[in-house]
Symmetry: C2
Subunit: 157 residues, 2 copies
């Protein structure tokens, strides 16, 4: 299993992983697809960074992270998602580890993750906590009634 930066040909794999995840709907997948298009069109330090986790020529999961606008060296893990069949096998851990190392190497000071409080995301919360992130802020009913925003963060240096 290896994590590598995404290339333009990964676009359909990423879209497919989001749809098959059952955690995200079509409008989320379309949002990620637009971000991917932007990232490939204008690569650079301020662009979104997409990475994929591969095994035997199959992309098992991907993540997207980048700098937070208007902050001093704060990074954001925007998306992390794995195929249902690949869960519990360290895909998320490998992606998160790669992302935090890259952000740290690029001068990152803090990484944040915005996520939903609903039970569907409980495995993601456990992943973040296992990687040293702590949930330090909650905005009640942010996504919807009874669907809070949780903000995880990790000091990188």
């Amino acid at each position: 299993m290896r994590v590598i930066p995404a290339t333009p040909t990964d676009r359909n794999h990423i879209y497919d992983i989001l749809i098959r995840s059952q955690l995200f709907d079509k409008s989320d997948a379309d949002t990620v697809d637009e971000m991917f298009e932007q990232a490939m069109a204008k690569p650079g330090p301020d662009a979104y960074h997409f990475i994929g986790c591969w095994h035997n020529d199959v992309m098992l999961g991907f993540a997207c992270y980048g700098r937070e606008a208007m902050t001093q060296h704060t990074w954001d893990l925007f998306w992390v998602c794995a195929l249902p069949k690949a869960r519990g096998k360290g895909v998320g851990r490998a992606l998160l580890s790669f992302a935090t190392h890259q952000a740290t190497a690029a001068g990152g000071r803090l990484m944040v993750i915005y996520t939903s409080s609903t039970s569907a995301y409980a495995p993601a919360h456990r992943l973040y906590e296992s990687q040293g992130f702590a949930c330090l802020a909650t905005v009640s009913n942010y996504y919807d009634d009874d669907d809070d925003l949780l903000i995880y963060s990790k000091q990188l240096v």
Copy 2:
């Protein structure tokens, strides 16, 4: 004093208010300017909404608000800013009141405001609290070391 939606000719007024506010730097003003350009180019329910507070043909302050992507009827007050000479005269209150009423009329359920914890923003925090917003979440060192993210929110319905 009256609050009205912005028109394309307000672009320079808004830029000028940001620069003269001494709360925001040129890169912030450029960010708002891009948002303004987008809002004017593609108006619509999902666009950024810009409003201005006027007295005697002078724009004293402006605000920008809109829907939060990927939420159910959550709105975000992205920017609110008044000229230094106009502070303490109800400009911020008039803008915030207009924005929350418009968001509520458009089906808004919750409004959030992201802001800095530094003392320069203390008058803004008092404004938000006076308008029924409460600071319910803090992300330590988010903007920079010793510069936290504060998230204010207000239930609209």
